[in-house]
Amino acid sequence: MGIERIHIKELKLLPERLKVIIVYILIIFSILFLRILYLQVFRTKHFGELASYNSVRIVPKRAFRGIIYDRQGIPLVENLPTYTVSIIPADLTDKNNTLNKLSSILKVNISDIEDKLEKGKYHQFEPIKIVDSIDARLASILDESKFELPGIVIQLDSKRYYPNAEIGAHILGYIGEVNELQILDGEGKYSLGDIIGQTGVEKKYDDILRGKNGQIKIIVNAIGKQVGILEEKNREAGSNIILTIDSELQKTAEEAMAKKTGAVIVMNPKNGEILAYVSKPGFNPNLFSVRTSSVEWQKLMSNRERPMYNRPIKGLYAPGSIFKLITVIAALESNMCDEHTKMTCKGKYIYNTWEFKCWKKEGHGAIELNDAIKDSCDVYLYQLGLKTRVERIAKYAKLFGFGSPTGFALGSEEQGIVPTPEWKEFTTGVFWFPGDTMHMAIGQGYLLVTPMQILQMVNVIANDGIAYEPHITKEKGIKPCINVEIKKNTFDIIKKAMLSVVENGTGYSSRIPGVKIAGKTSSIQNPHGADHAAFVAFGPVEDPQISVIVFVEKGGKGSAVAAPIARQILEKYFSKHKKEDYGLVKKDGYTIPFGHKP
């Protein structure tokens, strides 16, 4: 043998070193044993939970939103069936391949998909919506190739569809996917991918409209393939809502305002129900129901006319001549004048060395109070204002609701400014001049009001001192939110004057035969361009059922632009409702309650 045998005795260290090896092996196996003990005995509950998470995927079934109806039961929004495509990140076993195929089928950018996945990175086992509103054809193409697309979930969903598009957009608002901030603020109310109301009625009544999402617990294998259904919880549709809006009237108002910028509000002064509500330019809420490309979004946001801007409650303007009514009321109530007080207008009024012009260069001559309102004489009001003093005008302005929110809860309201000498000194550091009083008396200067506030003032006049909170859904037990206790005679004088404005004054073009309409025009000086045109009206004067404000930005003369728009609306209204009562759609002799489910 070529190999020499070495006797074992030469390995002197063998027994000792073998012992060391045995000890090490025992130590290592003890560590293995302890680890097994830890995993299988002490932590088995934890790992058991992880194991069930591993194979169970919770796929929410989104509830269908409630339908919004107008007061006659005409749907203002519908749910169209559509399909959504989501990805469960944990099951995305072949990411590149799947995303490539998905992007070529759906024609979306891979980077967009990755952005969405990135946002949902802490939700590995939840489906993250990639695309919504794909049609049945695309959905079936995807469904056929779902075995090549592990981790993809296709679900029947609904798409919010607004059949009237722009009409009523600022009332209804729009919906959109909940954002991270809203999830945080909702404190568990929303989960990722939820669609919630973002503005308007959709937002205000989201809790009612949204319904309850259902869910399916799906058992999947490691490559995301569905192998069974563990549990299914059905979705609950949201409740429907009936609005006070009259969609025919709304349509008339929108059409009358076509291509104009501004606001129209039509109300029932008797209860504060809003019959029409227009903010122009509008937007198409359907754009938000599907994925809006960033180009379209940019276009909407960068539009200089600001279509998303809710003018009736956010637009701040000087009220102009309409405010003269407040000045007159203040003067009458403080006995600074009566119905027969005469003043002379020579086209301008000189105070010290300053000249204050009337809109009518040749002047109105010596006129009484009624004519001063009817013809909207500025010089009469300058003098009346100086006599009455700014404090009193401001006091009545505030009593009639200016300077504070109207309480209309569809979005955050502006509250405007009713200036006083203290306010001016505080904000500008300059004393209040008599000229400021004169400007204020005719509704110019520092005064800032919203169209909604103006209409509330009109409602107070129409109701002889009372106005109700403006609202858009039928509400029971409405209490007045403004209650001005002044002489009945004062309201009579004002109403009479407003009636003559329409009968033979500046509001002549809003006259409609057979109904006594009271109104007032405004042409508001606008430092940025043409005058704003405004007109307010209510009628019939004996028993007011409807009040209107038309406000056209840069429209020009209130008498020529705003009054004819108001007439179209009033005509429409009174052609439908001769003299009968104007209530919600009757069912078994009672009005359909709010939040009713069909």
Partner: protein, 365 residues
């Protein structure tokens, strides 16, 4: 046929129980072959390899180990040729060139290398007559190990390559190399580590790094470990029952029939099953150590300690990796993981142990 009296039947019994248990677990984890149509045949294939392995084991047991050492340099050179051939013409599986096709069968060359390196080292140390000099001894031992090791790392099969470090270390330790020199060897490996790092593929580096924090990337390198720990942990005391482990059956545990077979055991037969398996391995290792003490010459001692260490280290690394306390290296569990090369190699290793045992007891008797 009369029972051969000079064999260590306890060692054979332990080995066969593990092999059989392994086949059962392979059947359990692959009986649902919806994921892979080949699955249906895996347990049968493993069974055939086991029969073949059993025959080889008895044949080797009856060859004197001296003869094995005598031809070990031929084995060693053949192994190097096979490794180079694998490197040049080998088939790729999951990005690694570990397989060399020989007719109908694929051979995992690194498995064969495990034994031929040990035998070659034994031959070298025996030639040195137990007097191992620093340069002539340790240096050449280092070369003997490093050539195949580098080829294996290049495949890349880091796990198998790194198995040799503790194995050779134990052999040198038993031979009686002074602790000072052993320190030098460790230092040498530490010194060569940066070079090994350069040989590593990105995924291997990632594996080593994510070993420290498996939760870092649930779908990436840490995924396997997390899933196998979930499987083992959720098994609890008695397990979920054969063919009822959700993690395995739903395919969450990757490579469940090969490298992660221990996770299947943990999930389906639970703590008690795992305990029995662990004790069986310990039993085989102590049978190996018993043979070390029985050996009559240094060759026998070295072979026995080399083989025993090899089996122990593979077991520890595999179980440790499955439970998330050692890095994922792709070392199969001896006797149980699916795979012909691994099963045959380990059964041959037992055959060599049996040979040492047979020759040693014959010497006495």
């Amino acid at each position: 046929m009369r029972l051969q009296r000079d064999l260590d039947y306890l060692l054979i019994a332990g080995t066969l129980i593990l092999v059989l248990f392994g086949i059962i677990m392979i059947y359990s984890s692959t009986h649902n072959f919806a994921y892979n149509p080949d699955f249906g045949t895996y347990y049968l294939r493993q069974f055939m390899w086991a029969i073949f392995g059993l025959i080889l084991m008895f044949v080797i047991a009856n060859i004197d180990y001296q003869i094995l050492i005598e031809v070990s340099h031929i084995f060693y050179i053949l192994t190097l040729v096979l490794l180079i051939a694998t490197f040049l013409f080998g088939g790729r599986i999951a990005g690694a060139q570990r397989w060399f096709r020989l007719g109908p069968i694929s051979i995992q060359s690194s498995e064969i290398a495990k034994i031929s390196i040990i035998l070659m080292l034994v031959r070298f140390f025996t030639d040195q007559k137990g007097k191992i000099g620093i340069v002539s001894g340790l240096f050449f031992a280092f070369i003997i190990v490093m050539i195949p090791m580098a080829l294996i790392i290049k495949q890349p099969d880091l796990g198998t390559a790194l198995l040799f470090i503790p194995t050779v270390f134990c052999m040198l330790y038993i031979v009686g190399v002074r602790l000072k020199y052993l320190g030098y060897i460790l230092g040498g490996f530490a010194f060569s580590f940066p070079f090994i790092w350069l040989l590593l593929k990105e995924y291997q580096k990632l594996r080593l790094l994510t070993f420290l924090n498996p939760g870092m990337d649930p779908r990436g390198a840490g995924y396997n470990v997390i899933q196998s720990q979930i499987a083992i942990g959720s098994g609890g005391f008695f397990g979920k029952g054969l063919m009822h482990g959700t993690q395995v059956q739903l395919n969450f545990v990757p490579e469940h029939h090969t490298d992660f077979i221990f996770a299947v055991i943990g999930e389906e037969v639970g703590f008690f099953g795992v305990l029995i398996i662990l004790l069986l391995y310990l039993f085989i290792i102590f049978q190996g150590i018993k043979i070390v003490t029985l050996a009559r010459d240094m060759t026998g001692v070295l072979i026995a300690i080399g083989i025993t260490t090899l089996i122990a280290i593979q077991t520890i690394i595999n179980i440790g990796m499955t439970m998330g306390i050692l890095p994922v290296t792709g070392i199969p569990l001896p006797f149980m993981s699916y795979g012909g090369s691994s099963l045959l190699t380990n059964m041959c290793a037992i055959g060599i142990l049996l040979s040492v045992h047979r020759c040693s007891t014959k010497f006495l008797g």
